[in-house]
């Protein structure tokens, strides 16, 4: 492998390669995948001079440690964390020069869940169906990072941007998710529909890239017959037999057999990706645009 590569020293709890995902294949059972906190992934690409479709790394809770084999520009954003190069603190949320062979440590999230590491040239693993994203539901794309793995990098196309501070939203202390009702709101009792948009839920520790699971009052169904499998969208709030709403994130299955009570606005999903377990969640009903 050439010098244009990134050695993984510490993979972290779950670090995956992510880009804009592979939409357009849902009819074949292929999830869209892609970065969960899309604005943060877009920001790190912009900071290091990459095009928006370049692949970045998505870390989970405890960061990762990397050693580039050639000099690169790196930016870390998303969940705030300490960033060091060879032990010396460097900026978070800004372009950082990392010399060849230096040790880049992306620390544990101080708040939020997912950190994004952009590297000049982008992570250049082989694309699958037009995307380099790791899809944890179907296993498409590269496997999650492991200690000792080496990731190829692309060639930088543009110089990095010059910024002092890039504004980013703080991870949510309370997650407010705007929802439009349906398509299967009528499968629930009127009381369940009221409960859903008036009571508080909390983010469950069982959440992952497939879905944000919640704990809270169970939603009772008015129709108890089986729902034939139907296509589901990103942000769909599916209610499994235990009655606790699950918000579908990027690696969600393309069809599902449990009723979808409502759909979360796409603009609210990046915050959902950064909500730690235990965070209060409120679903607020809004009019369809």
């Amino acid at each position: 492998m050439s010098d244009h590569a990134l050695a993984v020293v510490r993979a972290g709890a779950l670090t995956t390669v992510q880009d804009l995902g592979r939409p357009g294949h849902a009819h074949l059972g292929v999830p869209r995948s892609g970065a969960l906190d899309t604005p943060a992934a877009a920001l790190v690409n912009r900071l290091v001079g990459n095009p928006p479709e370049a692949a970045v790394l998505e870390t989970t809770l405890n960061g990762c440690t990397l050693r580039p084999r050639s000099a690169v520009t790196v930016a870390v954003a998303g969940a705030p964390c300490r960033v060091t190069v060879d032990g010396r603190p460097v900026a978070w949320g800004a372009p950082v020069h990392v010399p060849a062979g230096a040790l880049l440590d992306v620390g544990a999230a101080l708040s939020g869940v997912r950190g994004y590491v952009g590297v000049s040239g982008g992570v250049a693993v082989e694309p699958v169906l037009g995307s380099r994203s790791t899809d944890l539901l179907s296993g498409l794309g590269p496997p999650p990072l492991t200690d000792g793995a080496v990731l190829p990098l692309g060639s930088p196309t543009r110089p990095h941007t010059r910024v002092d501070v890039a504004p980013q939203p703080a991870p949510p202390t309370e997650l407010v998710l705007r929802v439009t009702p349906g398509p299967r709101e009528d499968w629930f009792t009127a009381a369940a529909v009221r409960t859903f948009t008036s009571r508080m839920y909390r983010v469950s520790a069982a959440s992952n890239r497939i879905g944000l699971r919640t704990e809270g009052p169970a939603l009772e169904r008015a129709l108890t017959r089986e729902l034939p499998s139907e296509g589901v969208v990103l942000g769909a709030v599916q209610v499994p037999p235990d009655g606790r709403p699950v918000v579908f994130l990027a690696d969600h299955p393309t069809t599902g057999g449990y009723p979808v009570i409502a759909v979360v606005r796409t603009a609210d999903l990046p915050a959902a990706a950064q909500a730690v377990p235990g965070t209060p969640v409120r679903f607020v009903s809004v009019r369809r645009r």
Binding site: S138, G182, P228, E230, T254
Partner: protein, 205 residues
């Protein structure tokens, strides 16, 4: 036909039968091919077609409820032949459900012309219809933690072939060596909605 809004830019179109869903899906693909429908995903399923990534969903909703969907042409797609050994561990259970011998299950299954109603569960996993309703079977009470790639399986009205090893609750009646999904191949999925399928028995074990 019922058109249900889904979020801000999707529609779920619900019809009353699998055949109507197939006709609707065929018509929507035709409209997309001729450039009169701009949509990111068209996802057919058992009784519905999902349209995701629409620019003006409310206008399309009105248009769909007022227009006629022509019946789908009977032989719209190529036939894929899948060599199969009827050697699955649940063959005897399925035979008991059907009230026939295991050999008869194999004969009836291999004599059936299937078509892919929709895909889901895993990349390249097709839900194949074609068996008469009296041959519906329940899922296994306890799903297997690992079903091998190429397993030919039944559940409800559907036949499916596992594209890769995964957990699964379907009744396994046979196996095929054909690769259902290969992302380095074009197209990656051997089966897509509308593909017709025949199972061709090869020397059983």
């Amino acid at each position: 036909m019922r058109v249900l809004p889904v979020g801000d830019d999707a529609l779920l179109v619900e019809v009353s039968s699998g055949e109507e869903a197939r006709a609707l899906h065929t018509e929507l693909l035709r409209r997309r091919a001729e450039g009169t429908l701009s949509v990111r995903e068209i996802v057919p399923a058992a009784r519905t077609v999902l349209l995701d990534g629409l620019t003006d969903p409310s206008r399309l909703a009105t248009e769909l409820t007022t227009s006629e969907v022509p019946p789908a042409p009977p032989h719209a797609r190529e036939t894929v032949e899948l060599p199969v050994r009827y050697d699955g561990p649940d063959l005897a259970d399925v035979a008991a459900h059907w009230g026939v011998s295991p050999e008869e299950v194999a004969r009836i299954h291999a004599d059936t012309e299937f078509s892919v109603a929709f895909c889901g569960f895993a990349p390249g996993f097709g839900y194949l219809t074609g068996l008469p309703q009296r041959y519906d079977v329940p899922r296994r009470a306890t799903p297997r933690t690992s079903v091998p790639a190429g397993a030919v399986a039944l559940a409800g009205p559907y036949t499916g072939v596992y594209p890769r090893s995964s957990p699964g609750g379907w009744q396994l009646i046979g196996s095929t060596d054909t690769v259902l999904w290969d992302h380095t191949r074009v197209p990656a999925a051997l089966l897509s909605p509308g593909t017709r399928v025949r199972f061709v028995p090869v020397g059983s074990s």
